[in-house]
């Protein structure tokens, strides 16, 4: 960045720091966060401003880690039941790498699910998703996603960061970098998790080479919502408040001699931290939500017993439903990007028991979230995504030649995701796969294309949202990406 542009940015920051009112603080926060940029030669005209008028303001990204079976949920393939137990022609599998399937003996695995036409649009959805069916007219289902990753962690990185390489910024980081945060007293990028740990861990919401202030901030849905949010044991709020005041005064004294604007930034950061200490607990306090709402999300639903641990063990129904409700509350409070993770949907085996269990957990709260956003007038500006890293094979998984086939392996050539709200054209299905769900016949959409479209909804041109690192201008869409016009309302 030319020195003058950097200077402009610096002086703007100083102005905001000294006019420490609410609006100043919020803009300040994102400028402070761009501190690293002062040294990192970003394009001179970069400001947290969209490139063109946006449709979406916020995003809720529901990430079902492990790859839910699209064949059993979103993409009906009656042909599979006809072909159950048969081998695929070698021409199909010849150059294909599988994670676990033994090609020589693998056979087609039929699908036990029933599909029904839902909504006015007649979208076919599995019997495992009855609630989602009630919002079919709001969602845009894509059956023709494809990826080049067929292992979980690289796949998750590709979906969340646009690259299979470790160390790239995630979608939420890019959006906050590109647009800044609009929350007065919460971070611009909040992550909630349920289930067991994901393959990608924190790399799924990391800021990569962007300054760490763009990283997703992990909130917990109970207890202390943010790390180090509570005062130390024995330290009252009055003492904390006296501390913040003294920090401000002593830093102010120092500033009088040192004149470094960074000191003012730190004063502001402390005041924002202090605000967060009350805002974050208020966020997760659901006592003001009425019972009807809590019931609609299914917070207190009974959770059936299941032996498997893949979904994270007892307590996930409440955790996942709570996260969905918190997502709405976060968006209401201006948080730009909310990520909900649940692990795991990696059904290599026991598919017909564990997939229904996970769907029972997710279906109702997710559908309620969409209705709730809509009823509050938030859906138009909130993009809701249902994502995972890849799909599952129409072949049954016969790991190590095991004849007891009860699951499906990783399938990168086609999988299903959906989007709703935030400028998305609902009530439609995009893309078509072949009769056995092996490959795409119509409208292939790569993850880079999806990312380009998401940025587009937020008023950002994916080729212009760049950050220079190691001598290269990086983008969320790497070197690919085309906006999928069909998805736009």
């Amino acid at each position: 960045m030319p020195p003058t542009a950097e200077y402009l940015q610096q002086s703007r920051r100083n102005f905001l720091a000294t006019s420490a009112n609410g609006v100043g603080l919020l803009a300040l926060a994102s400028l402070l966060q761009s501190d690293g940029l002062l040294r990192a030669a970003a394009p001179a005209d970069r400001r947290p401003q969209p490139h063109f008028p946006p449709k979406a303001k916020n995003c809720i990204c529901i990430y079902l880690e492990g790859a839910p079976s699209q064949i059993d949920l979103f993409d009906p393939k009656p042909k599979l039941n006809e072909l159950h137990g048969q081998k695929l022609p070698e021409s199909l599998t010849k150059n294909v790498r599988f994670a676990f399937i033994q090609k020589e003996t693998a056979t087609i695995l039929g699908c036990k699910r029933k599909f029904f036409k839902r909504g006015q649009c007649g979208m076919e959805l599995s019997d495992l998703l009855p609630h989602l069916g009630t919002v079919a007219d709001d969602i845009c289902l894509i059956r023709s996603m494809h990826t080049e990753a067929f292992n979980h962690h690289p796949g998750q990185l590709l979906m969340n960061t646009g690259s299979t390489m470790f160390g790239r910024p995630s979608m939420g980081s890019w959006l906050n970098y590109g647009l800044g945060s609009e929350s007065q007293n919460l971070p611009g990028y909040v992550v909630l998790t349920a289930g067991r740990g994901t393959s990608g861990g924190t790399s799924n919401w990391g800021s990569g080479f962007l300054p760490s202030s763009y990283a997703g901030v992990l909130f917990r849905n109970s207890g202390d919502p943010v790390l180090n949010l509570s005062n130390p044991a024995g330290l009252s709020d009055a003492m904390q408040s006296a501390t913040i005041e003294a920090v401000r005064d002593l830093n102010g004294i120092r500033h009088a001699t040192i004149a470094d604007p960074e000191i003012n930034s730190r004063i502001a950061a402390y005041e924002l931290a202090y605000k967060m200490q009350s805002a974050a607990p208020e966020l997760i306090d659901l006592s003001k939500e009425d019972k009807k709402t809590l019931d609609a999300y299914g917070i207190d639903r009974p959770e059936p017993d299941i032996k498997a641990h893949r979904g994270g063990g007892k307590g996930q129904f409440r955790a996942f439903a709570t996260n969905c409700l918190l997502a709405r509350r976060l968006v209401e409070r201006g948080v730009r990007f909310v990520s909900l993770f649940h692990a795991s949907w990696d059904h290599h085996s026991n598919l017909d028991v564990e997939l229904p269990h996970n769907c029972l957990m997710a279906d109702q709260p997710v559908a309620t979230l969409i209705k709730d956003l809509k009823q509050r007038g938030l859906l138009d500006e909130t993009l809701v995504l249902w994502l995972s890293e890849f799909g599952r094979t129409p072949l049954g998984e016969n790991r190590n030649g095991n004849p007891n086939v009860t699951g499906r392996d990783h399938h990168p050539f086609c999988f299903s995701i959906w989007a709703a709200g935030g400028g998305i054209k609902g009530g439609q299905v995009i893309g078509q796969t072949d009769d056995i769900g092996w490959g795409i016949e119509e409208d292939p959409i790569h993850i880079n294309d999806l990312h380009a479209t998401i940025l587009h909804l937020f008023g950002l041109d994916h080729t212009k949202l760049t950050y220079k690192f190691q001598g290269r201008d990086f983008r969320l869409t790497d070197v690919g990406g085309k906006v999928v016009q069909k998805m736009l309302a």
Binding site: Y7, T202, S213, L235, S236, T243, A269, D409, G471
Partner: protein, 810 residues
């Protein structure tokens, strides 16, 4: 697409169904190379596929090159023109982009026909020499030019503070701009600055007083020498290097398995810095220690540098894919750290900006391609004897168990008895004593290297052998060696006297740590897209002084006798300069002219790195464990962090006792769930090399310093320390002592006043809530002090640990 670069990816192939391109017919009659073919190639091809440029790795200016083909393989199939990629590309047949590219550049069908006929007739080449007479233009880019030792500029101002030549270079520029340098920093600031920069630890009040009371001209130099000799110097500078080495304690990716002996490399780095190992040797041992004649254990441990790459043990992954990814990372890291080049750009295609071709990338790749990851036995001092004894005991018991089995067989004892004895043996074998290990790199069996078109490891282009980029001086083979060039040759080439990059890149890296900004502001990129140096002569003077010190410098500003590639000497040169010792107070009058302090008319205030913040808090509270080296530690971290790892696999078992108070660089780094405090304060994520850290300033940092268990405990210990070490002192004296301990300077009266007021406030609040006060003391309750009084001091101590000055190196 460039001719020779090969297939499109399958995903996009679906969008571009193969066009049924028709080839023009081959020309009739005998074709003569010199009259028919040479003019076509010269006019249309060799500009991009000739001596100056080799797009896609292809040259069409000599017969040998044309026959060899491009990165994807041969382009001429003699006798079969329709199958020759050269011809296919000329008509844009899938998967090739039509050549030559651009509107209206298409070759006439007649010319294509001639080329076809020529190929069908065997593609004979007229002469061995190039068909063009272009001489390769040498890159004019500044960083590729030889390092010339510049003359030190003579200043015009006799009053100027000049400690050594660094100041002359800086002042010459400032004089041109008519800007006066800042006054020297006050002594307390200077002491704090240099102590934090060289050891990462704050000066104690006793060290502060000693320095303030030492009026001798050598006072500062004595401090510098003491700090450079401190074992904590190696920890401070070792950590900088570990950023570049992308050091971590786990594999990364899904399983993110722990690396229990990664720290052996970290210890090697600390020791190398402490011993002031010359940087050329430091380079050679890390890149090729295993290839040195009679390599020592330590030299092998040094190769751990390139063991810090990620490993993917996820079920069902293609191991070759991640082996290649690790090799690519080794090339890129070597490029960034030593050459300041973004080699990674050439993994998939020729570098867009710098003169590095894709083929050259894979020639560098070839140096590392046959390497294997080997964990070697690396006994710690005294361990060998211990292990020998354990092994003897183990073997004795093993022999007994084997004998028992033998007996059971001979005496035909019941099957259940035999089974029992066999199980006992099997269980015993699991308990075989294992010694300490070290992760190293070792040369494996030869492995051929091919260009990977588009960086895709599944695709195979032309074969390449180890070599260095042509834009840089040539690599030399070790005397008497034969066979392909090795990693050892590469390491020696990096530190060879004619390498223009390494010395510049390293002195710039060092400079950046002392001033917050390199003389080249992009330390990772000395290529054409990087920033130009702000003081090119100073950079070259420092580089030549670093690599080949001049005797002339000896004695100036107390520079010790010459030692080539000495980092300590370079550090001393820098910190002894008046430039380094300037005040860092921001000068409002320069805000417009030099907002980023490029001209260095003052020092720069820098927020401390994550590890140093924790070190400083623990140091001033008296908790810090100063033991140097050893395995990684797991200090307390908030709950729910390690649960984020794959299926909660990376258990965080808290270190106990003094271990947990070791310095921050020893904290276990789990790649998929790093210690949160480190990340909050911009520690790198250890996935790729980092030569310059970000410095952000966020509310989460405030919450960490206010409430994180480690910082709260430091405040508790610091509060107790003040009460117990100054048992009968007044509030004012105690506050001054607390201030001196925390910030290593004497407070101003206005600061004491504000703290006095704060102390009174805390006393009231703590007394009002006596039961809570006790809790605030944690495990550091002072004896014979009422809890409310002690709590008030903890709260004041905590305030000081949150000041901007505490987190900043002034």
């Amino acid at each position: 697409m460039v001719l020779g670069a090969g297939l499109a990816t399958s995903a996009t192939a679906a969008d571009n169904p193969p066009g049924a391109t028709r080839l023009p017919p081959a020309a009739d009659g005998k074709i003569h190379f010199d009259t028919d073919i040479k003019p076509i190639l010269a006019a249309h091809c060799v500009q991009c596929h000739g001596p100056a440029k080799q797009r896609g790795g292809l040259r069409l200016d000599t017969g040998a090159h044309a026959q060899e083909g491009g990165n994807s393989g041969p382009v001429i199939v003699a006798g079969r023109s329709a199958e020759s990629p050269l011809i296919q590309a000329l008509v844009g047949q899938e998967p090739y982009q039509r050549m030559p590219p651009g509107e209206g550049k298409q070759l006439p069908a007649e010319d294509i026909g001639k080329l076809r006929a020529w190929i069908d007739q065997g593609a004979p080449w007229g002469s061995a020499i190039s068909i063009v007479e272009t001489t390769v233009e040498k890159s004019q880019h500044w960083s590729f030019q030889p390092i010339q030792r510049p003359a030190v500029p003579a200043g015009t101002n006799p009053q100027a503070r000049i400690h050594n030549p660094i100041d002359q270079f800086i002042l010459a520029r400032l004089e041109r701009e008519k800007i006066a340098p800042a006054p020297p920093a006050d002594k307390a600031t200077l002491l704090r600055r240099v102590a934090l920069d060289l050891t990462g630890l704050p000066p104690t009040p006793a060290e502060l007083d000693a320095f303030l009371n030492d009026d001798s001209p050598q006072a500062f130099e004595k401090v510098v020498d003491r700090l450079l000799a401190s074992p904590h110097y190696g920890e401070r500078w070792g950590r900088h290097w570990l950023d570049a080495a992308r050091y971590a304690d786990s594999d990364g990716y899904e399983k993110d398995t722990g690396r229990p002996f990664a720290w052996r490399y970290r210890d090697w780095v600390i020791a190398a810095f402490n011993a002031d190992m010359p940087f050329d040797q430091f380079t050679i041992e890390q890149l090729a220690g295993d290839l040195l004649p009679n390599a020592t254990l330590q030299q092998k441990i040094a190769t751990g540098f390139h063991r810090n790459t990620l490993t993917n043990k996820e079920g069902g992954v293609d191991q070759e894919e991640f082996r290649v990814a690790a090799v690519v990372d080794r090339v890129n890291t070597t490029g960034s750290v030593w050459l300041g080049l973004t080699l990674g750009c050439a993994q998939c295609h020729d570098h867009k900006y710098d003169p590095i071709s894709q083929r050259e990338f894979y020639q560098l790749f070839a140096f590392f391609n046959a390497d294997q990851e080997v964990d070697i036995a690396a006994p710690l001092p005294g361990e060998a004897e211990r292990l020998e004894k354990q092994l003897a005991d183990f073997n004795a018991e093993k022999a007994q168990l084997e004998a028992a089995i033998q007996e059971a067989k001979e005496k035909n004892l019941p099957a259940t008895e035999l089974k029992k004895r066999e199980t006992a043996l099997a269980n015993h074998l699991k308990k075989a004593p294992r010694g300490s290990q070290a992760p190293t790199i070792a040369l494996g069996p030869p492995r051929k290297t091919y260009v990977m078109p588009r960086g895709d490891f599944l695709r195979r282009g032309v074969e390449v052998t180890p070599n260095t980029p042509a834009v840089l001086p040539p690599i030399r083979r070790s005397a008497g060696a034969s066979g392909p060039l090795t990693r050892l040759d590469l390491a020696r080439w990096l530190v060879a006297p004619d390498n223009p990059l390494t010395a510049r890149v390293i002195v710039n890296w060092v400079w950046g740590k002392f001033f917050g900004r390199g003389l080249v502001a992009t330390p990772e990129d000395f290529g054409t897209q990087g920033e130009k140096p702000s003081h090119p002569e100073l950079l070259d003077w420092l580089a030549s002084e670093f690599r080949a010190p001049s005797g002339a410098a000896t004695g100036e500003g107390g520079v010790s006798p010459a030692a080539a590639w000495s980092l300590k000497r370079l550090h001393k040169l820098i910190v002894m300069s008046a430039t380094y010792q300037q005040s860092s107070v921001v000068r409002p009058e320069l805000r417009q002219r030099d907002p980023l302090n490029v001209l260095l008319a003052r020092q720069q205030r820098l927020r401390l790195e994550a590890e140093l913040l924790r070190d400083r808090a623990l140091a001033v509270s008296g908790l810090l464990n100063l033991t140097v080296g050893g395995p990684s530690i797991r200090p307390p971290q908030p709950p729910g962090i390690s649960e984020l790892t794959y299926a909660n696999s990376a258990k965080w078992i808290e270190s106990t006792g003094p271990e947990k108070y070791k310095r921050g660089l020893y904290i276990w780094f789990q790649r998929t769930s790093p210690y949160p405090m480190l990340m909050t304060f911009d520690a790198p994520d250890s996935n790729v090399c980092v030569v310059r850290r970000e410095r952000s300033n966020t509310p989460l940092q405030a919450l960490t310093l206010l409430n994180d268990a480690v910082f709260v405990e430091a405040a508790q210990a610091l509060g107790r320390r003040i009460l117990t070490e100054y048992p009968n002192a007044t509030d004012c004296d105690r506050l001054r002592a607390l201030f001196r301990l925390s910030l290593s300077r004497n407070p101003e009266p206005v600061e004491v006043d504000r703290l006095t007021k704060l102390l009174q406030t805390f006393r009231h609040l703590a007394t009002d809530n006596g039961a809570q006060a006790e809790k605030l003391l944690g495990p550091h309750k002072p004896q014979n002090v009422p809890p409310a009084e002690a709590a008030a001091w903890v709260a004041v101590a905590r305030t000081l640990l949150n000041l901007d000055e505490f987190v900043t190196r002034d």
